[in-house]
């Protein structure tokens, strides 16, 4: 046993060396047309050897280590507690959410312009994550091309404003409806596929949309994107220094205050906040409606749900369409915030980030998803020096979550009744 253990540990340590040394330790550098190989810093080599030693020691003492870990008193004081009563939990959750919204309302007046801009982005991600949560978390359909619907929303606004001069408020429902329609058209044929095939098909669809946006240069401007997307207006009041469109007035003149460029950013933030709250409320309502329960029933056991008379296509299609609809919503806001969009913003990685938010937050749980969206968007900004490690950490976090806590940080608890056995 001991010899076996040693051999295994040695093997693991060697594998660690093999997979880290060539890639980390030897750097390719292009000098003109020649490529040269340079060594890395000494600290890198030390780190590689250290990693191998750690793996070796861990593997040797793996059994006893795991034993000790199992015997440790549980560090989490909440772990042994009875789960909170359902009604209390729901109440607590809605209090927390209300608290977040109230705090968010005052946020822009307390902080700098950059923070408000970032907060708008957070809200857009919250909308996206809430929408994807319906598809992945509630209905259990892994959609890897979610960003395609986001792109449909954004490009709808951009193109309509370019060709017809449509305003933000008109584009918002049109963009969302078009995204929803795209979701429905795509969903109709693909939803009878099994889980992982569905994931790949949606991924392929997302890539097709991106390639089309990139190459249909006459319509979408290709990689150059579309600029000059108008800002939203408030009852015909514009937020620029000068009024761009006939018939509009400007915000600062109407209220007789000095012009400040912050007004526009704060206004956009408030719009995003209102839309995010609306998204959350609508989806919350859906979750308690029969259709929401049907999503979960189908996710839990498709055969049982179908034998109870649920139409698989209709239920899945509704989830897919609603998810796409809110992605379109978010896309319109994004286009308006950036003022410029290009296919660069709609790559697969974006889908993966939104998926990571849903997974980290706990699939199906609204509060969890909102908190995860805030964390995932803000943390890299706070730790700027680590920002290049952002995606690395993302990937690792997704793997670790799946291994240790696949239900997410704040898992969803369904409303349930506990039946007591009668004496």
């Amino acid at each position: 046993m001991a010899a076996n253990n040693l051999r295994h540990a040695l093997f693991c340590a060697i594998v660690t060396l093999i997979i880290s040394f060539p890639i980390l330790g030897l750097n390719l550098e292009a000098k003109g047309i020649n490529i040269t190989l340079t060594g890395a810093k000494t600290s890198t080599y030390v780190a590689i050897v250290l990693a191998a030693v750690v793996v070796f020691v861990f593997q040797i003492f793996r059994d006893s280590f795991m034993g000790v870990l199992g015997k440790l008193p549980n560090l989490n004081p909440l772990a042994g507690r009875e789960p909170m009563e359902q009604s209390k939990r729901v109440k607590l959750e809605s209090w927390i959410l209300t608290g977040i919204v109230i705090f968010a309302l005052f946020w822009p007046f307390l902080v700098s312009r950059g923070s408000v801009d970032l907060a708008t982005l957070v809200l857009i991600y919250i909308m996206l994550a809430l929408g994807l949560n319906v598809v992945v978390g509630l209905a259990g359909l892994l959609d890897l091309g979610y960003v395609a619907f986001y792109a449909v929303g954004a490009y709808t606004f951009a193109l309509l404003s370019q060709y017809t001069g449509i305003s933000f408020w008109m584009a918002l429902p049109i963009g969302a409806l078009l995204a929803g329609l795209t979701g429905m058209i795509l969903g109709f044929p693909v939803l009878r596929l099994r889980g992982d095939y569905l994931a790949i098909v949606t991924l392929g669809f997302g890539e097709i949309i991106r390639i089309l946006l990139n190459n249909w240069t006459t319509l979408t401007g290709g990689p150059n994107g579309i600029g000059g997307i108008p800002d939203p207006t408030l009852f015909g009041m514009e937020f620029g220094r000068r009024v761009k469109e006939e018939g509009n007035t400007s915000f600062h003149e109407t209220f007789g205050i000095a012009y400040a460029s912050e007004h526009k950013i704060i206004f956009l933030y408030l719009i995003a906040l209102v839309l995010a709250v609306i998204t959350a409320l609508i989806i919350r309502r859906f979750m308690r409606m029969p259709v929401g329960r049907a999503w979960e029933a189908l996710r839990e056991d498709e055969i049982a749900a179908r034998s109870l008379g649920l139409s698989r296509t209709a239920v899945k299609l509704s989830a897919f369409t609603i998810g796409a609809f809110f992605a379109g919503f978010a896309g319109t806001v994004f286009a308006s915030k950036q003022g410029f969009i290009s296919p660069e913003s709609f790559v697969f990685l974006e889908s993966a980030i939104i998926l990571a938010i849903v997974v980290l937050g706990g699939m199906g749980s609204q509060l969890g998803v909102i908190l995860a969206a805030i964390a995932v968007t803000i943390l890299p900004e706070l730790a700027r020096e680590f920002s290049e490690y952002r995606m690395l950490i993302f990937g690792a976090a997704m793997v670790l979550m799946m291994v240790w806590r696949p239900q997410g940080l704040l898992p969803m608890r369904r409303i349930h009744i506990k039946l007591n056995r009668q004496e």
Partner: protein, 307 residues
């Protein structure tokens, strides 16, 4: 004659790419055949193979080695070792702990792993693409009347021959060796195989290692063919190879070979006759159509849904 030459040129290009796709596709199909999961990080394993091969080639050239076959063979072996270790480690860290859980959980774990590996190479080697030296140059040229030349380069011949050797070796391994027989048994019925004394964990690791080694071969070959590598190099190739695996019938090794060739040819015909930008659209479109109308692929067995 002119048209025929042009067509054959596209055919040759397509078969070249297609045979490399087939090599990568085998990794997908073997893993899927045994544990029923899509190894999303497989494209990254292929990319790491290409990088390692390039590192080895550069290192050997810097050491003053000049005999080409030796360089290639050493680079190939290095790439295969590093990629297989990576495949083994990935299975151990990211897939084994989640095996047997709900279908989506291993897939999400695999996506995480894919992002992780992409950024691992990105951070270590930089995000810019690095030129791959053209080690095998030249080729045969055919022309009818001097207007259009059809060329069959030596690198294309190398790709064909290497792929052929790998495929034959793999077929022999699967059909003759003890491990190969165990692989087939495990893919038929994992539970039963383990009852009969097969160490299933070992066999699953072995499929990952074999798949990764073949992906590394493809990495070296396609790296030389395209002339550059970058950290995102594996993503699209991985998707294409997955398409090839599905096209041929996922779980079937001959299917992966057939699927790779068909995909390669259809891609190069698209870029030859329509437009190069849309070749990805064609392959993804093909994937969607196959999954919709014949999810078992060309050579796959129909899957029975058990209640």
């Amino acid at each position: 004659m002119q048209d025929l030459l042009y067509f054959s040129q596209q055919l040759i290009n397509g078969l070249t790419i297609g045979s490399a796709y087939a090599l990568i596709a085998i990794g997908y199909t073997m893993v899927y055949g045994i544990i029923g999961m899509i190894n999303f990080a497989h494209g990254e394993i292929y990319m790491i193979g290409a990088y390692t091969a390039l590192i080895a080639i550069t290192g050997l050239t810097a050491l003053g080695l000049a005999w080409l076959p030796l360089i290639l063979i050493v680079a190939l072996v290095c790439a295969m070792i590093v990629s297989s270790s990576m495949g083994w480690a990935v299975e151990r860290v990211a897939y084994r702990p989640v095996r047997g859980r709900h279908r989506l959980i291993p897939l999400i774990s695999a996506i995480g792993m894919s992002i992780f590996l992409q950024n691992y190479v990105h951070l270590a080697q930089g995000s810019r693409n690095v030129g791959f030296p053209a080690l095998i140059e030249g080729g045969f040229n055919f022309s009818a009347d001097g207007a259009f030349q059809m060329s069959l380069s030596y690198i294309q011949i190398t790709i064909f021959i290497t792929t052929l050797i790998c495929m034959i070796a793999l077929s022999l391994f699967i059909s003759r060796s003890r491990t190969g027989r165990a692989c087939r048994a495990v893919s038929q019925d994992l539970g039963m195989a383990s009852l009969l004394g097969i160490d299933t964990n070992r066999i699953i690791s072995a499929t990952f290692v074999i798949g990764a080694a073949l992906a590394a071969v493809a990495g070296l070959l396609l790296g030389m063919y395209y002339g550059s590598v970058d950290p995102l190099f594996g993503f699209i190739a991985g998707l294409k190879a997955f398409t090839a695996a599905v096209l041929g019938g996922i779980g079937s090794i001959p299917g992966a070979m057939l699927g790779g060739l068909i995909l390669g040819v259809s891609e190069s015909l698209t870029s030859g006759y329509l437009s190069g930008e849309y070749k990805d659209v064609v392959s993804f479109g093909l994937l969607i159509l196959i999954l919709l109308f014949k999810p078992t692929g060309l050579l796959g067995k129909p899957e029975v849904e058990k209640i």
